[in-house]
Amino acid sequence: MLFNSYEFLFLFLPIVLGGYFFFGGMKGKSRLANVWLVLASLFFYSYWNVKYLPLLLASIGLNYLISGYILRYRKAKMKGAAQKAFWLGIVFNAGLLGFYKYTDFFIENLDLLGANLPLLHIILPLGISFFTITQMVFLVDCYEEVAKERNLIDYALFVSFFPHLLAGPILYHKSMMKQFADEKLRWVDWENMARGFVLFVIGLAKKVIIADSFVKYVGIGYDNDTSTLTFFDAWLTALCYMTQLFFDFSGYSDMAVGLARMMNIKIPINFNSPYRAYGIIDFWSRFHMSLTTTITNYLYTPMVMNCKKITFPKAMLATFSAMFIAGIWHGAGWTFVVFGAIHGMGLVVNHVWKKFHFWMWRPLGYALTLLTVLIGDVFFRAKSIGDALNMLTAMTGANGFLWHPKVADFLNNHLAFSLESNPHIYSDFPKLAFMSAILLVAFVPSSNEIIKKLALNRKIAWAVGIILAIIIMLIRDKDTEFIYFQF
């Protein structure tokens, strides 16, 4: 089920909230509220395809079982046995993700090397990358005795909680369990309800009003013959996708945080005005923040700590490797390998620059950050390396320039230029959405900042109501999926 669908807005959400607070208010039985949320979340997941529900349940069940052994062995000071159970769990999760996500990619490449194996055409179960990474992190927390609470219902809720199940933010066991155990959080808090709801509507607006306006134009650029692209349409397509990606994913994340907040549950924010970042290090501390935190704490840090002596080059190697793995985690394909490598290199260059205090002109630093992200996003979106290279070639001007007819006519007539033009490449460009998006990105505070400071009064209520009405009319004939659901 998508947050931006009528089923969710008019049926699922009101029923789930009503049930949650109804059970939550029952004296002595308020734990039923958590059972209710688990059932609702499993329904939410099955609504897409019930065939994959057993997979989700098996993943939750097995991880719960294994974590029980890890904790028991740890308590009994049997470190070796705990370690074995831990690695069994890690291999199980990595194997599950590996099978569903990377098998076909692996076969494809073997075929390129001369093997003649048929593809299995495995469909990626929704959310598997997210619920796998969440539980791998959980196993580490068990092994290190940070995650101690044992309760199957709360554990199932921690993994399947519908706001975050499909595309994050990635949650940590300790902070969630504390909240799921607190019965006061199962009573309606109108301030949280209001602020959570406004955040949800902001996220919905980002997705439905802005991000979805770019789908068509981006598709025309990336999904047709990319060798016909020229300078302007290549730039516009690349910029449109970069904008779409941010509004789509941060819109989804705002909705997730907002929904959880309506139920008095705090989950970490995922975005903080990333396109205003100064440097790639700063960019990743503002973009998909929960992934950055996870990768830093559970992948990069162990790699660095494993060195006897921490040196700068070793730390840089770890930085690059962690980002590279994060890139491949996004998807099985060479384009994601390159995406990871570009950002890995970006981080390393940024660290070197900082360490040696090299000079940088500040506006140039901002521009280079955005340019690196833009190039990374070309690989992120393109269907193949070839397509991505075509796009980048066109962006250098090597494929010529086709101007907007008005500009070309003006310059040709008044300044005796002989510029070529083509109206078609501009006809689907979403001017209004693009201009608004740029203004929003440049001048408006992040949605979480807005929510913190928002005065809750009648004027705001009206404004939110009107935005919601517009959204509801816009989603009537199209509820499009979120980009991050494919990962």
């Binding site: 580490v140 927390d141 005795e145 995650a147 290090i281 830093t296 730390a315």
Partner: protein
């Protein structure tokens, strides 16, 4: 060891890691305030604290350590366990 003592012990560790004698660490200091506090210096900081107090942090606790107040609470908790 009281929390004030821990804070006093942290002062020179911060000066050393960030190579800046002017830093005054308080309970409210966090990673956003100190410009050089990035992923790399965070690890060096964590390692230095572990060594000084003879304690060990879990990967799942690294996030809490981005804020000096929480960091002190966690150190105090670990020192008590021993």
């Amino acid at each position: 060891m009281t929390k004030d003592n821990i804070l006093a012990d942290l002062q020179p560790i911060f000066h050393d890691i960030f190579d800046d004698e002017s830093i005054v660490v308080t309970n409210a200091t966090n990673a956003e305030e100190i410009e050089d506090w990035d992923s790399l210096s965070h690890i060096r900081l964590v390692v230095a604290i572990e060594k000084h107090f003879d304690i060990k942090f879990a990967f799942g606790e690294l996030q809490e350590l981005k804020n000096v107040g929480e960091m002190i609470d966690l150190i105090a908790e670990k020192l008590e366990e021993d």
